[in-house]
């Protein structure tokens, strides 16, 4: 089946195409040059004057795994205001802060997103994460598996195991949990919380293992580099939300010693201690550090005002912040000598000084980081806000007047303390395309996503341009997933099942011997049942496939 999208204005930053008039051909799920000699065009859609982009990619969104299900369980009151009825091709579900998986897939697709990546999959909970992602229709999925507070790694580090041995363990964990990348969350802190530690700085030693967060970050960043995993270490740094944590963030950057790193929800890690309330924005310093360190990338984790729920692997931080929850309830878990989690509902308010400043900090970082290839558009769904707020966020970035109007409504002291109002920058459509398509594909190593060149997956979005970017990005006119028209002006017209993206780094399988013994001696499941086979993934994706990306990378950046 050959489909022609005729006459669109192509925005494809990977090929440096900016509103270039042209045709897109799609055959059997892939973008192709054009018809073969004598080949008939089965379907032609006139999109003259419309903007065409690759499908958007959310590189950090909590869409699967235990903590999201805990959030769903905790918040029937939040679902009740966003019911989704069974209609047409779509099953019933519910939306808002912790939407059902079905609704998640439909809504992402209707918004022009064709892939989303779960950033905090616990190794022991990976099967559940894949089951949930498997029930998320249309979009492609993948996950970064979490290490850094697991006792096996901390034991290896305490024993002074070689980097090669640690690489084997990291490679094993990525492969056996079917992950695309590796995440570290509050390095060592989740584990130390189980030993009654309440705060762990970058250079403080873990109370039991005597290793520091800095060592953990460095070791894991190096492991990924040596395993040639495309996506660098995804770091949720120490001291999330703590005033003055910008210094920790800067130290984390230097601590990686030149190994590529990705700092996640950087907004929550960019706070100073200036002012009467001892809480201030250090967005400028953080942005400067990103600008000056080409091996560092970040996603923002923008907050938006309204009700949401925070789901995090950082049990230490979530326990500390549980008192700020709204409604006031929280779930905190210690998990399987492996990790932890904490779920706390939050209501961010524009008249609350701290929330207002958080909002401004996020936008400042967006606007002060110069390279759109290294800063990513996220709300850390649902932690900063549900992903459905992206069109609004895009407008805040593209429309200075709109942004300054919003700024005038937030807590006045926060507005005064922030330099947001003095920033004139407005994101261009090309820059939005970079940060939501081209750059996430590049940083995740997804060579056939995020662009529209022949050979790419036919994940294509057609927008009616509008002076209001929020309107434009809310309901694109056409969304194609693997060449199938799945959404039309916000309506789902076909339900397909996306693929699972993984990497399979090379490692020495002999690591399974000590691991198998460790599982039998200390844990409560067998190693063989911990590992997730390729066939399992194929079984649970409702017909989606498993896409394995190559582990290859250029030399070290410094």
């Amino acid at each position: 089946m050959l489909t022609l999208l005729k006459g669109g204005k192509i925005v494809d930053p990977t090929r440096k195409l900016s509103r270039v008039p042209g045709d897109i051909y799609m055959r059997d799920g892939w973008i192709v040059e054009g018809p073969l000699p004598g080949e008939r065009i089965d379907q032609e859609i006139d999109i003259t004057g419309r903007i065409v982009m690759a499908g958007a990619i959310d590189m950090h969104t909590h869409i699967g795994g235990g903590k999201v299900n805990i959030a769903r369980n905790m918040l029937p009151e939040d679902h009740r205001f966003d019911p989704v009825h069974r209609a047409g091709l779509c099953r019933s579900g519910c939306g808002h802060a912790a939407p059902s998986t079905l609704t998640t897939g439909y809504r992402y697709a209707a918004m022009g997103y064709t892939a989303g990546f779960e950033p905090a999959m616990l190794p022991v909970n990976a099967r559940q994460a894949h089951l949930e992602m498997g029930d998320t229709p249309i979009i492609d999925k993948g996950a970064y598996v979490m290490l850094g507070s697991d006792d096996f790694l901390l034991r290896l580090m305490r024993e002074g195991a070689s980097q090669e041995r640690i690489n084997d363990y990291v490679g094993f964990t990525i492969a056996s949990s079917q992950a695309l990348g590796l995440k570290v969350v509050n390095p060592g802190g989740i584990s130390d919380f189980k030993f009654n530690r309440r705060k762990l700085d970058l250079d403080e030693a873990h109370s039991h293992y005597n290793v520091t967060a800095r060592q953990i970050v460095h070791t894991l960043a190096r492991a990924l580099h040596e395993l040639k995993v495309p996506h660098p270490l995804h770091i949720h740094a120490s001291n999330l939300g703590v005033p003055g944590n910008f210094q920790t963030t800067l130290d984390t950057i230097t601590g990686a010693e030149g190994f590529p790193i990705h700092l996640t929800h950087i907004q929550f890690h960019s706070y100073g201690t200036e002012g009467d309330r001892k809480f201030s924005s250090e967005a400028a310093k953080i942005a400067e550090a990103i600008n000056n360190n080409p091996h560092v990338s970040a996603d923002v984790g923008q907050i938006m005002f309204g009700q949401t729920v925070t789901c995090s692997g950082d049990s230490m931080t979530q326990h500390r912040n549980a008192g700020f929850g709204s409604p006031k309830k929280s779930v905190v878990m210690d998990i399987e000598c492996d990790a932890g989690c904490g779920v706390v509902p939050f209501k961010y308010k524009d008249k609350n000084f701290v929330n207002a400043l958080q909002w401004a900090v996020g936008l400042e970082i967006f606007l002060r980081v110069q390279d759109p290839w290294r800063i990513f558009l996220t709300t850390d769904h649902p932690n900063g806000a549900p992903f459905t707020s992206y069109p609004h966020l895009i407008r805040l970035l593209m429309d200075k007047t709109f942004r300054n109007d919003a700024l005038s409504r937030i807590h006045p002291d926060a507005a005064t303390l922030s330099s947001l109002g003095s920033i004139d920058r407005e994101y261009t459509l090309d820059e939005i395309a970079i940060m939501t398509r081209a750059a996430p594909a590049k940083i995740l190593g997804l060579k056939d996503c995020g662009h529209l060149a022949p050979g790419a997956r036919a994940d294509v979005v057609v927008y009616q341009e509008d002076s209001d970017p929020e309107k434009m990005f809310t309901a694109p006119e056409y969304v194609f997933k693997n060449g199938t028209l799945v959404a039309k002006s916000g309506e789902i017209v076909a339900v397909t099942w996306g693929d699972v993206h993984v990497v399979k780094p090379q490692f020495d399988r002999s690591i399974e011997k000590p691991l198998g013994e460790y599982f039998e001696r200390h844990l409560t499941q067998r190693l063989g049942n911990f590992k997730i086979a390729d066939d399992e993934i194929r079984d649970i994706t409702n017909g989606g496939g498993l896409r394995v990306h190559a582990c290859e990378r250029d030399g070290r950046t410094v």
């Binding site: 369980n73 519910c94 059902s100 189980k194 549980a322 210690d334 649970i540």
Partner: protein, 426 residues
């Protein structure tokens, strides 16, 4: 007769889902060994026993072939305006199939264990909690308080696998552990250490346990009136609280199913409130054990697909959660259902459907008796026996793969649901 064996099979017959089971297959007959407890051995044996006469489906108690049973089920489901999907003892894949059918038919969805599970759920929805998982208990707990449960009668290998272990990572020996049981003459044999250290028992009658939990919370957060009068053993409870405060990692274990009195969610809240207070100075966590009869497995799928737990109605075309309105018992007492799809596909000794006037389609595991009250009964494949699947364990974190041990012709729960769905058409 062909023989074969499998090792490291996960057992779906209680929430612990022990996965160190070995199975020996002689033809269809399965003998469970390895770590298998007597309950697991009996279940594997019963489900895999050849069926006399070979019947696997019945209409009004009379043997029929599967196609006839499915055809009749389609007729009943097609005529139903208010179906109730109950029981729901199945795994993740079974529940996936059932929910697709429930969405199509506008069913109310409830599980056979909801009443107990709600005691915990209400706590999570009202206040939240701090909990832990099996391997954390195994390696970390220095004080274990079992509240209102002996644990063992519901979770036979809990002490063996999580308490009296050879080498806990963060204790020199598991003998350093202290076990306290608060309850009505709990069975202590399994809670006794290999060297004979018996648990300390604080005897409190069942109907006073709610009070005991409230007292413990009050003692922990020092909110009890100075001149409190009670005939409960306050000093003993104070001593428990003091030792929890002094412990590095105390764990309070309960099984919601055992807290069988009205408003027991308030008892759970008293315990979790105490745990919250204890965590201001030390570490302490709850271990609310559950997961038996697939109650965590099918609930997990409910949550991610609909956003709501059990006791949700899809009748309006979207999920409406109401833990009182949508209980199986209330709906059937008030004659608000016109068809029950009863799913009891795990434990062969727990397949009896609830009393009702309306027709029942029963999907039961092999080894179940023929149910006279069922309009249709279909023997379904059981995961870890003649189907594969996925099972959520007692701590809701670990999801174990269930592997197929033998090949039989029984359809899975998902197969049956799918065939009914297809039969109903658009």
């Amino acid at each position: 007769m062909a023989t074969a064996s499998l090792t490291d099979i996960a057992c779906p017959f209680c929430g612990l889902a022990c996965d160190d089971i070995s199975l020996k297959m002689e033809g269809e007959r399965i003998t469970a060994g390895g770590g298998a407890c007597p309950r697991a051995q009996a279940a594997f044996q019963k489900i895999s026993a050849p069926v006399e006469g070979g019947a696997q489906s019945w209409i009004e108690g009379k043997p029929v072939d599967l196609d006839q049973a499915i055809a009749r089920a389609i007729e009943l489901m097609g005529a139903s305006k208010a179906p109730l999907f109950a029981g729901l003892a199945t795994d993740v894949l079974g529940m996936r199939g059932l929910l697709e059918l429930a969405d199509r038919t506008g069913a109310v969805i409830d599980h056979m264990n909801s009443e107990g599970k709600l005691r915990n759920l209400r706590t999570v929805q009202d206040a939240g909690w701090i909990t832990t998982t099996l391997s954390e208990v195994r390696n970390r707990a220095d004080l274990i308080v079992c509240f209102g449960t002996d644990v063992t009668s519901r979770f036979p290998r809990f002490f063996e696998r999580c308490v009296w272990v050879e080498e806990p990572m963060f204790l020199e020996s598991s003998e350093q552990r202290k076990v306290i049981m608060i309850g009505d003459a709990p069975e202590i044999a399994a809670a006794t250490s290999p060297k004979g250290q018996q648990p300390e028992v604080i005897s409190i009658p069942l109907n006073r346990l709610a009070e005991a939990a409230a007292l413990m919370r009050g003692l922990a957060n020092q909110s009890l009136p100075a001149k409190l009068k009670t005939d409960l053993p306050l000093e003993a409870l104070q001593s428990v609280v003091d030792r929890l405060k002094a412990a590095h990692y105390g764990v309070i274990v309960w099984a919601a199913a055992d807290l069988n009195w009205s408003h027991a969610d308030l008892t759970v809240q008293a315990l979790t409130g105490m745990i919250g207070t204890l965590n201001t100075t030390t570490r302490c966590a709850g271990m609310p054990l559950g997961g038996s009869d697939g109650d965590f497995s099918s609930d997990a799928v409910m949550l991610w697909q609909t956003g709501y737990p059990y006791r949700t109605s899809l009748a309006s075309g979207t999920g409406q959660y109401d833990p009182v309105m949508h209980s199986t018992q209330r709906i059937l007492e008030d004659n608000e259902a016109d068809l029950v799809l009863w799913v009891a596909g795990l434990n062969p000794d727990r397949t009896e459907p609830p009393q009702t006037q309306c027709p029942v389609i029963a999907l039961t595991s092999a080894g179940s008796p023929v149910l006279p009250q069922a309009s249709i009964q279909i023997t379904v494949a059981t995961p870890s026996v003649d189907a594969s699947g996925y099972f959520f364990r007692a701590d809701k974190v670990v999801t174990l793969p269930l592997r197929k041990a033998i090949q039989r012709s029984n359809p899975t729960v998902a197969d049956v649901a799918h065939r009914i769905l297809v039969g109903l058409g658009d």
